[in-house]
């Protein structure tokens, strides 16, 4: 199991998986994820963030994908959040948690700094979990169909083409890595010995990509492409179950916000 999200695995699970969340309409899931993201962005309350993380994790469990996947894939967002917040305990003023006297200066870790760092990490991890939940349980075409509607035309074309060709690019990279491996090389182990070779491989890869882009564009042009990718609307209808899911997830989020805010007020 890799630390990076496996696009092939996610796509396979999204297209062929069967869980209660797979049967929910994409709009209901997207609105839920949007609501979670908005709450994550606006709140700085630690209790609210912990509760949001638990709720999102519960939704992820409903996908029936192994929790080990989420946990390993969270390492990248975690490291991202950690790299942003690493300096906060040393720079945010407040009560000292730990103080170390070095010869020339004194290093102090503040409780407020640690809390702020923790909040940032919780925000990043919760938002990433919410996205994993939706991309693992929604046919990627349906997801793209609704997401691209919110984008300007050029960006929506780029989004659709990126989704289609990212898998080919991954395959091509894999084949090139295997070709290097079959002749005893390794992209990591022999990187410095073969740095010139890898430069050439990357160059060849870029040229191949450009050539493919030209061929794809030609194939689109002969079918009448005029700058807009028109799509048929998905067959799925918004049902009473979808409405029930949306209402219950939004109610849970409101309740969670209210309880944690009340707890904070009572604590004050």
């Amino acid at each position: 199991m890799g630390l990076f999200p496996d696009f092939w695995l996610i796509n396979e699970y999204a297209e062929n998986g069967d869980s209660p969340l797979h049967r929910i309409h994409p709009i209901a899931k997207l609105v839920t994820v949007l609501a979670i993201t908005v709450l994550v962005v606006i709140t700085y309350n630690l209790e609210t963030l912990v509760a949001l993380l638990l709720l999102t994790f519960f939704l992820c469990l409903l996908t029936r994908a192994s929790p080990r996947y989420f946990i390993s894939w969270l390492s990248v967002p975690f490291l991202f959040g950690f790299s942003i917040s690493i300096m906060l305990p040393f720079t945010v003023p407040g009560r000292a948690l730990l103080s170390v006297d070095l010869l020339l200066f004194k290093v102090t870790l503040s409780i407020e700094g640690v809390m702020q760092g923790l909040i940032i990490i919780l925000k990043v991890v919760t938002a990433a979990l919410a996205i994993f939940m939706v991309v693992l349980t929604t046919s990627h075409f349906e997801l793209l169909y609704y997401v691209q509607k919110a984008f300007p035309r050029t960006l929506s074309v780029m989004l659709l083409l990126t989704f289609r060709y990212v898998f080919l690019v991954i395959d091509e990279m894999k084949r090139m890595r295997e070709a290097v491996g079959a002749r005893g090389g390794s992209l990591i182990r022999t990187f410095f010995e073969n740095i010139k070779l890898f430069g050439n491989i990357l160059g060849a890869f870029l040229i191949r990509t450009m050539e493919r882009a030209e061929r794809v564009y030609t194939a689109m042009e002969v079918r009448g492409f005029d700058g807009t990718i028109r799509l048929l609307s998905p067959h799925k209808k918004f049902s009473a179950t979808d409405m029930a899911f949306l209402v219950s997830s939004l109610s849970s989020l409101s309740l969670l916000l209210w309880i944690t805010t009340e707890v904070e007020i009572l604590a004050i």
Binding site: N11, E15, R164, L168, T218, A219, R223, G224, I229
Partner: protein, 289 residues
Amino acid sequence: MPSDQNSNDNIIEACCIEHVYPDGTRAICNLEFYVKKGECVAILGPNGAGKTTLLLHLNGILLPTKGSVIVKGIPVTKRNLPKIRKIVGMVFQNPDDQLFAPTVEQDVAFGPLCQKLPIEEVRRRVEWALKVTGLEEVRHKPPHHLSGGQKKRAAIAGVLAMRPEILVLDEPVAGLDPESKMTILGILKDLKERGGLTLVIATHDVEVAAILADRIYLMKNGSIIAEGEPRRIFSDEELLHMASLYPPKPIRIVRMLRQKGVPIPEDVVPLTDEELADLIANVVISGRR
């Protein structure tokens, strides 16, 4: 020189066309090429013969440096491209270059949606194209989840949904397993015989030409070195040798049988496995008598 070149029922006419790429490579030179309505024409030749370059002229992806291409009486020029592309549908060699939409159904719908047809008509055409190519089961799958044969069929479906009168295919069975190859050939045969579609196929697979083609153009180094019916072209060993090709397997087997003393007349040229089986059965039965 093709004998029927000036006939009125030609749907494609290419006169003295020449194409020079920007790097100076002369890919095709002084080509005379015609296709009659409803026939299947195969362009045979080794790699680098100029087959694909010729195909790309038929719906205006490339315009000739010299000469002219006329489709259904309309000259292929920049101004006429929308009209030409409604008549001529092009299926590229690599289906991954053609299938860009997130699902098979969406890709098949792309052409009709670009033609701005009413949505009901688009859905009707998509259903028809998926049925003809046998892809109804995988309509919601993304292209990267399909096998090579399915991808090729999806690429054909995407062009068929635009209801072209002429279908141009570049190496339609290259890299496919025998079953997928036969499926594609069956679909193309059906489209020609029942649908009345005109087919132009570039290939170096002589079996494909033997099964499908009414007429063959043999190409080498950017020029047409022969034109004629498959039996005539495939029985001329010297000509095929010039184009670095071998005759189809049934013809090779008949030659071997003749060398072993089996009395098969020289004018008998079986193109398909069925024709060969009939011939051998006749020889065996007449031998018993």
